[in-house]
């Protein structure tokens, strides 16, 4: 009797094998930068709670080349994360129906991009204008 002798291939390095997986891992990697940013904001709140000197020191840090460099990376990560999130979100929400017809995924994606751009402008205006 011949035994069933199957071969199972290893998964090592799977994320390097296909551009789609590389993109996926980059998407997941954005979390590290966004976490750093959340930490940064938290640090700002802590500085604020400690008074003007502490807050000034925090602001000084923000202006340092190290911080600016880091924020460039964080910004790229944030934009990439947003891009992937909007593109894939129709898959993760119940189908939206208008007058019995399903709203096409494309419409949902595009409106999210538009929404994000709107938020960007409003926030810039708020920060700069007031």
């Amino acid at each position: 009797m011949t035994a069933r002798n199957t071969y199972v291939r290893p998964m090592t390095g799977w994320y390097r094998r296909n551009p789609h997986f590389v993109a996926y891992m980059l998407r997941e990697l954005t979390a590290v930068f966004l976490a750093a940013y959340a930490g940064m904001l938290l640090a700002g709140v802590i500085a604020l709670s400690r008074g003007p000197e502490a807050y000034a020191a925090f602001q000084e840090f923000l202006a340092s080349p190290l911080s600016v460099g880091l924020h460039v990376l964080i910004f790229i990560a944030a934009v990439y994360n947003a891009y992937t999130w909007f593109r894939i979100s129709p898959k993760a929400m119940p189908p939206i129906k208008l007058a019995g017809k399903r709203v096409p995924d494309r419409v949902i994606v595009v409106s999210q991009f538009a929404g994000c751009a709107g938020v960007f402008i409003v926030m810039l205006l708020l920060a700069g204008g007031l």
């Binding site: 009797m1 011949t2 035994a3 069933r4 002798n5």
Partner: protein
């Protein structure tokens, strides 16, 4: 050798086999069912059926009309009592499939729809877009999973029936993954192995359709009936033979020749109509349409494509929306295999072998002459298709007769004593299967024998036939039997040896091919799909309103015998389509 003991064994997990399994599980839940299939059931070729399945439903339709269409379509070679049973049970089966979840296409009201099909007097073909067989098969397969009494032997290749005491008591199978033999002992066996289109070169069939079941039954003395009737489907892709469903024409597609002319009007199928009209023009029966293609080719009015002559199937006038809704698979196929958008370009099509009207001789209850062996689906000949099957009758057939085979096999199994020892029969079959594998002195390549067989069949058993051509085919086939005995395989392993299984399949195919060729040679008339160009170019009811029976002879060509056709209420008449059909339709209504 492993042994599996069961009550009913079913060979074949296509629509027919699955329907039979469910029928047993529902009518006799205490019986164990073993479903043996060389591919996982949902891979069976029922999956590829596109157009639809017949069942009388609309107010203008009647069982009588369906009966009349089927019998006339089959050129009166149908057993009329069986056709009566068939048409009475089609609709119920379609409703049953709906209850099991089959996504039949619907009207706005929520009721199921029907479409027109070739040779049918009115719209009566139930459809699930153009993936009807796919949805039927997956519905049946998934539904079958809910019955604990059904156990599956997926990817087990049946290589012989086990017969003892004059009764079929099981089968021998090879577990594909390991090459191990398994003896399946059963009180009744149902054969549901599908068609045998692969014995021809250009065909619409899947690679698995090598006629195994027909060959197995045949070698055990069950006759193969009406094997000369092989249907050529008029609209398939040149080269590959991939099917472009008749549903295209049911929805209103046109066939045009190289001058853009709707040539069917020249072949007694007119008048030219712009809307799909039953039994007229593109909705004539398949044999007539394939013959018309042949004549166009003779007249030099076909289109040359790199893969052979073709005519055009035009769907452009149906509009993108309708095509996307009704014929999405055809759109996909033309994009993939031709690189064209069928909404804006015509599809080149030509006839290919499609369906085996004949098969394992069985009566209207699906019982064969070998006690304990039942047959249903395309491998069987229960007597409803005659000399030419109407499109959409075979999906209905596998549901109606699959169920009947299940119920009858279950009833039979209940009355049988436990199986006797089949060890000896099994080890003999095992030895002959293993002999192919261990042969070292062979010289013949498997593929070249196969290619020679398919070429000979396509040459001699075509749309039009002559005595010389058929004789030549018979001669080639006789020679191939010897050559197969000298085949040499590259693969001597047991595990997943598809070359070995291919050699066993080719043995069955050759037997089936010979049954077809000799049956054809001996039918000295023209009827339905068997049309001769020599002196036998007309129908001869006097001599040949009879079924052909090909009986297996070891080491010799088949013995050809004849049996009577059961004619109860519709005497033979001329088959008429186009303008002439109207009156006949009215007659059947009366």
């Amino acid at each position: 050798m492993q042994v599996v003991s069961t009550d009913v064994a079913i060979i074949g997990g296509g629509g027919a086999g699955l329907r039979a399994a469910i029928a047993i599980a529902e009518s006799a839940p205490e019986l164990k069912v073993s479903l043996v299939s060389k591919v996982v059931p949902m891979r069976s070729h029922t999956v590829a059926a596109e157009g639809g399945s017949a069942g009388v439903t609309t107010d203008v339709d009647t069982l009588d009309l369906h009966f009349h269409d089927t019998v006339a379509g089959g050129d009166w070679l149908c057993d009329q009592e069986v056709v009566d049973y068939f048409v009475e049970h089609c609709t119920e089966e379609m409703v049953q499939l709906e209850h099991w979840g089959c996504p039949w296409s619907r009207q706005e009201s929520g009721h199921t729809s029907v479409r027109n099909f070739g040779g049918m007097s009115t719209a009566r073909t139930w459809f699930a877009a153009d993936k009807t067989g796919f949805h039927m098969l997956h519905t049946l397969f998934q539904t079958s999973m809910k019955y604990p009494s059904i156990s599956r032997l997926d990817e087990y290749f049946a290589c012989d029936l086990l017969v003892d005491d004059g009764r079929c008591q099981g089968l021998l199978a090879i577990e594909v993954a390991t090459g191990d033999f398994v003896r399946v002992e059963a009180r009744a066996v149902i054969m549901a192995t599908g068609g045998a289109g692969r014995v021809f070169r250009q065909n619409t069939n899947a690679g698995i359709l090598t006629g195994d079941g027909m060959g197995m039954a045949y070698r055990h003395g069950v006759a193969l009936r009406d094997m000369e009737f092989v249907q050529y489907h008029p609209t398939t892709l040149p080269g590959s033979g991939i099917l472009i469903t008749e549903g295209c024409r049911g929805e209103g597609g046109y066939l045009t020749n190289k001058d853009g002319y709707r040539y069917l009007q020249d072949y007694a199928l007119g008048p030219v109509v712009t809307e799909p009209t039953p039994k007229t023009m593109e909705l004539g029966p398949r044999d007539r349409l394939s013959q018309a293609f042949w004549h166009e080719q003779q007249k030099g009015r076909t289109i040359d494509t790199p893969l052979g002559p073709a005519v055009h199937l035009e769907l452009m006038h149906l509009g993108q929306k309708k095509l996307a809704e009704r014929l999405p698979f055809i759109m996909e196929l033309s994009k993939t295999f031709l690189g064209i958008d069928a909404a804006s370009q015509a599809i080149p099509v030509c006839p290919s072998v499609h369906y085996t009207m004949g098969g394992i001789a069985a009566d209207g209850t699906t019982a064969t002459a070998l006690p304990g062996l039942f047959a249903c689906g395309e491998c069987s000949s229960v007597g409803i298709h005659g000399a030419n099957r109407l499109g959409s009758n075979s999906l209905a057939e596998l549901a109606v007769f699959g169920k009947l085979a299940g119920e009858n096999a279950a009833a039979f199994a209940r009355e049988q004593a436990p199986t006797r020892s089949l060890e000896r029969a099994a080890s003999e079959s095992e030895a002959s299967a293993l002999a192919i594998l261990s042969r070292q002195d062979g010289t013949e390549r498997l593929a070249s024998i196969r290619d020679d067989m398919t070429q000979a069949m396509s040459d001699g058993i075509g749309i039009y036939r002559t005595a010389d051509g058929m004789q030549a085919t018979c001669d080639v086939l006789d020679g191939l039997v010897d050559r197969l005995a000298h085949v040499r395989l590259d693969d001597s392993n047991r595990a997943f040896n598809t070359e070995w299984l291919g050699a066993i399949e080719l043995g069955f195919s050759l037997d089936v091919a010979r049954a077809m060729a000799y049956s054809a040679l001996n039918r000295r008339e023209s009827r339905g799909a068997h049309v001769r160009l020599d002196e036998y170019d007309g129908r001869d009811d006097q001599q040949f309103l009879r079924h052909t029976l090909a009986v297996f002879e070891a080491d010799a060509p088949p013995r050809i015998e004849y049996s009577n056709v059961n004619i109860t209420r519709l005497p033979p008449a001329e088959r008429v389509y186009g303008a002439a059909a109207k009156t006949t339709g009215d007659l059947a209504n009366a």
